[in-house]
Symmetry: C2
Subunit: 279 residues, 2 copies
């Protein structure tokens, strides 16, 4: 069930298509956790075949980011896929995805300028490019993305619509630890003290929602209260951004409305974590 070459993956897909099978696809960077499992389960429910890709995509990491230390464990990922009844794990090589002379990029303008895009230059260009490639290789009927990477989800939806791709992008809820921490492969970086401070993100988001539900609409006031909460945790090194944005345009709002998304990025020690909540 492990497929390591693009050619082989394409052949398998061709055969499945001929048999009229529906394909669900879960693109990941591996180090699979409960969040990924929830995507696989959604896909299993809605499709006859489920393909998971594990590919740490170098072109979506900026200089000085964590490409080299990003956690990898293919054996464990294979085990998770087996447990979830995934049909194929696609694990292409970097040299095959980006051979010498590689020159083509998919860019989504506008939506990628704010939030994470303002701090991670070229990140979304790398994301949309690799997802376009993977979609062309796997040709899924449906592709599953977690809402934790909310901006990524919206960028991919926009790309699929704009380029007339035949994929339904399905978004799945954030999966959290019992204490509220959003699952992320990067949580592995956290020391026990940092793990405690990482709770600041979800705590601030839950408080934002509480304030909104109590009638507060002033985005600045909500964000100010969030900042206070986050700064009260000892291992918080930097709040990169806290924003309340329109769920589709990702434009910052002054007056919060139902359906808006509160999103933030915070450095806990050297680890950059993101999270969000829908009002």
């Amino acid at each position: 069930m492990l497929i390591r070459s693009i050619k082989e993956m394409k052949q398998v897909v061709k055969k499945l298509k001929k048999e009229g099978k529906t394909i669900g696809f879960v693109p990941t960077m591996g180090y699979l956790h409960e969040g990924h499992r929830s995507l696989m389960r959604c896909s299993k429910k809605e499709n006859q075949i489920t393909v998971v890709s594990v590919f740490v995509n170098p072109i979506q990491f900026g200089e000085g980011e964590d490409l080299d230390r990003y956690p990898r464990d293919l054996e464990r990922d294979l085990q998770v896929c087996r447990e979830e009844g995934v049909d194929f794990l696609f694990h292409p090589k970097v040299e095959e995805m980006y051979p010498e002379g590689y020159s083509t990029y998919v860019v989504v303008e506008g939506l990628t300028e704010g939030l994470c895009g303002a701090f991670r230059e070229g990140h979304f260009k790398g994301v949309s490019t690799v997802v376009a490639k993977l979609f062309n290789i796997v040709q899924p009927d449906r592709a599953y993305f977690g809402r934790k990477d909310y901006q990524q989800l919206i960028v991919i939806k926009r790309m699929v619509e704009d380029l007339n791709m035949d994929v339904e992008v399905v978004d799945c809820p954030i999966v959290r630890e019992e204490d509220g921490l959003a699952l992320s492969s990067r949580n592995k970086y956290l020391s026990p003290e940092e793990r405690r401070s990482a709770l600041s993100l979800s705590k601030a988001l839950f408080r934002a929602k509480e304030l909104f539900e109590a009638g507060e609409r002033d985005a600045e006031k909500i964000k100010e209260e969030m900042r206070k909460i986050i700064k009260s945790y000892p291992e918080v090194k930097d709040i990169q951004y806290i924003e309340i944005v329109h769920p589709h345009t990702l434009k910052p709002k002054k007056k919060a409305e139902k359906g808006d998304v509160v999103a933030l990025a915070v450095f806990i020690g050297n680890t950059r974590l993101i999270d969000n909540i829908t009002l």
Copy 2:
């Protein structure tokens, strides 16, 4: 056989795919001429179904270029397609191809910097984007491009390979008038005097090939002789470029080799014409 909406085109394609039909695709900007006919004939020979698109793609025209006056005649195009036994003519609306909020572009870096790319900013970004969209809508097994737009051909081949698209890009020879002029929808702009001066392009290219075959390898010498020929025609307003390039990298050569491409762009009056020849 005329299809005006993306949705309808997709439905037709879905049905054809289900029936196991092979699809050949000829993307054009309309005002079809003998060059386009040759592409249709290639497609008819190699595929069960042939789709021609007619779409004057606004995003590949720069400011001050000829988007508004670009020749259009759908009735005539339909007639040509009927004569050639084309199965479907796809003619989408600009508003459906680029609805409000449209944000996604496909860019091929490097290859698009020289030749026409140096003079038509954003042109190839527009070309690769629309072709990616059309490929996703029509899902052809093979797509046919004329070699007259040589840089475009190479850019599209690169895009297809880089993005792992399942399309075979087939290139077809330049079709010329008896006196040598390469066919182009833009030839319609030419006055009788300009039409005579438009011959300068092919005359210079044929001379370049002659020189090469007689043993000349010095690109500068070949180009100098070409310049002299072109300048001897009265309606030549500007030689935008004359280059001898590697057929795949499009990098300019100092020493010409067999297989290299001699390409040029010349203004005849207000009309910009391009042409090329393979050594």
